[in-house]
């Protein structure tokens, strides 16, 4: 079932010195229900812009976006590259913040928050302030916060970009597990090709500016994914194919 259809989305910026930068041009993509789509592409090609347009943080010049479920648009989750936790709130208070704002604090949603704390291994840090957390824990809090109101659509802009390889592996596993358990549609921007292959059902490769969709690769790997998968020939094939495409771009 198609959930979102983007048709010929274009967006250009005017930089401070008056130059026009065409960030994305004629991007068309339809997103199916329960998909995990990764978006990769050269730096500055417009990956963040695409997510920001989808979440209405940014206007676009032309094209059309169809949400087949309006609920989706009003109730989406967004995870930024840096965790943007409110420094004066504890982990728990940060996570329930969206519930407070949306007036959605019910016994059910609060119980869901408890589950998330568990799922993200944040139980013992629930009363800690953000400054007392490591980078990985901050990002887990940020993810838990975006999930607190149970959005069906999750947009993630390089959420693990600033983390070390070990933490990253760990969070990749957790995210994959979470996606399978909670049935969500995820759009995930990353620089890391292996991460994209490991997590996704499809990988979208954007070209250099003005960015169009260069190719979409369906990742046909087993449902059950463990870190060992990354050493299998199939996985390595996907990675080198995508790397080849990216190298063509730059």
């Amino acid at each position: 079932m198609t959930m979102i259809e983007m048709k010929n989305i274009s967006k250009s910026f005017t930089s401070t010195n008056g130059e026009r930068i065409q960030a994305i041009k004629d991007v068309s993509l339809s997103v199916e229900k329960d998909e995990f789509i990764s978006i990769i592409g050269p730096s500055g090609c417009g990956k963040s812009t695409l997510l920001r347009i989808l979440s209405e943080l940014q206007e676009y010049d032309s094209g059309e976006i169809l949400f087949h479920d309006e609920n989706l648009k009003d109730n989406l989750g967004f995870v930024f590259q840096d965790s943007v936790l409110l420094p004066w709130k504890s982990v728990y208070e940060n996570i329930v913040m969206p519930l407070k704002i949306k007036h959605m604090e019910t016994p059910e949603t609060l119980a869901h928050v408890e589950e998330l704390l568990d799922l993200m291994n944040l139980k013992e840090f629930r009363n800690s302030l953000p400054k007392e957390l490591s980078g990985g824990m901050k990002q887990r809090t940020s993810i838990a916060r975006s999930l607190s109101y149970n959005p069906k659509l999750l947009l993630m802009d390089e959420p693990f970009g600033a983390l070390d390889a070990m933490t990253r592996d760990h969070l990749n596993l957790e995210l994959r597990r979470l996606w399978k358990q909670t049935k969500k549609t995820i759009l995930f921007v990353t620089h890391d090709i292996e991460e994209a292959v490991f997590l996704s059902t499809r990988v979208v490769v954007l070209s250099n500016r003005p960015s169009t969709i260069h190719d979409i690769v369906t990742i046909d790997l087993p449902e059950e994914r463990t870190l060992e998968l990354r050493d299998t020939p199939d996985f390595i094939n996907y990675v080198s194919r995508l790397r080849g495409m990216l190298n063509e771009q730059s």
């Binding site: 979440s55 209405e56 943080l57 009003d74 989406l76 989750g77 967004f78 930024f80 840096d82 943007v84 409110l86 420094p87 004066w88 913040m97 969206p98 407070k100 704002i101 949306k102 302030l129 400054k131 109101y149």
Partner: protein, 249 residues
């Protein structure tokens, strides 16, 4: 531990200064209409306190400073918010507010006394004028440099303007606003006193002019002593509030 040590040192210093003061008046045999000795001064002061007249002067000034500072903060916060949000308002209001600030307070005091009378209102108005400006500047500059990630998150959650203000903007601006208040309270006392000296029926500033006119050094010293205490007290309140509010820094 460290804090209490500072207090002990401060007390020691004050006692030493008073002792020095006493010594000077005795050794050089300074007449009391020129500089009373601490013993004389404190006797006068405690008698003055007991008559109950001093208390009414203190409460007058306290009232002006507190009410003025409170409304000054409110006015400053409201103006600061709108100036940060609207370029048009900023361009319209800033020159006007700047002129009011640059002109010396002493020159505005007589105007306010003519407009609002000899009572409390004119001094409260003066204090509001003085307090609101630094608060406004502090808040608007703090609001302008808030991490855009916070506001974007609030947009994604469809938060309304009031929610954004109370949950993100106000806490973010707290540090700057409190620093602004710290500067403002000392100026608040100054301007209340200036207002009282220009024309009033009560207050510590009124006591100052009264003392000067009657060559009553004890009265002047009482007023100065109380004003310094008041300043110290207000500043300490700010420090306590700051520590309570900025626990997360």
């Amino acid at each position: 531990m460290k804090k209490s040590k500072i207090y002990i040192e401060l007390c020691a210093l004050v006692i030493a200064l008073i002792a020095l003061w006493q010594a000077i008046t005795v050794i050089f045999d300074i007449p009391s209409y020129y500089l009373p000795s601490p013993v004389e001064f404190f006797t006068y002061f405690s008698q003055f306190l007991q008559t109950g007249k001093l208390a009414s002067h203190i409460s007058t000034t306290l009232y002006e400073v507190f009410i003025g500072t409170f409304w000054g903060i409110v006015v400053g916060m409201v103006l600061g918010y709108f100036i940060a949000k609207s370029k048009v308002l900023e361009h319209l209001l800033m020159p006007l507010l700047l002129i009011m600030q640059i002109s010396p307070k002493i020159s505005i005091a007589p105007l306010f006394i003519l407009w609002f009378g000899l009572g409390l209102t004119s001094k409260v108005a003066l204090v509001i004028l003085v307090v609101s400006f630094p608060i406004m500047i502090a808040e608007s500059s703090a609001l302008k440099k808030i991490n855009s990630g916070y506001t974007e998150l609030m947009n994604i959650w469809h938060a309304n303007k009031w929610q954004v203000f109370t949950r993100v903007e106000l806490p973010c601006a707290c540090h700057e606003v409190i620093s602004g208040i710290k500067i403002a309270v000392t100026q608040a006392i100054t301007s209340a006193v200036i207002g009282e000296m220009m024309g009033a029926k009560a207050g510590l500033g009124y006591l100052l002019t009264n003392g000067a006119e009657m060559y009553d050094l004890n009265m002047i010293l009482s007023s100065i002593f109380l004003l310094s205490l008041l300043g110290l007290f207000l500043y300490e309140i700010c420090q306590v509030v700051e520590r309570k509010v900025l626990y997360w820094k």
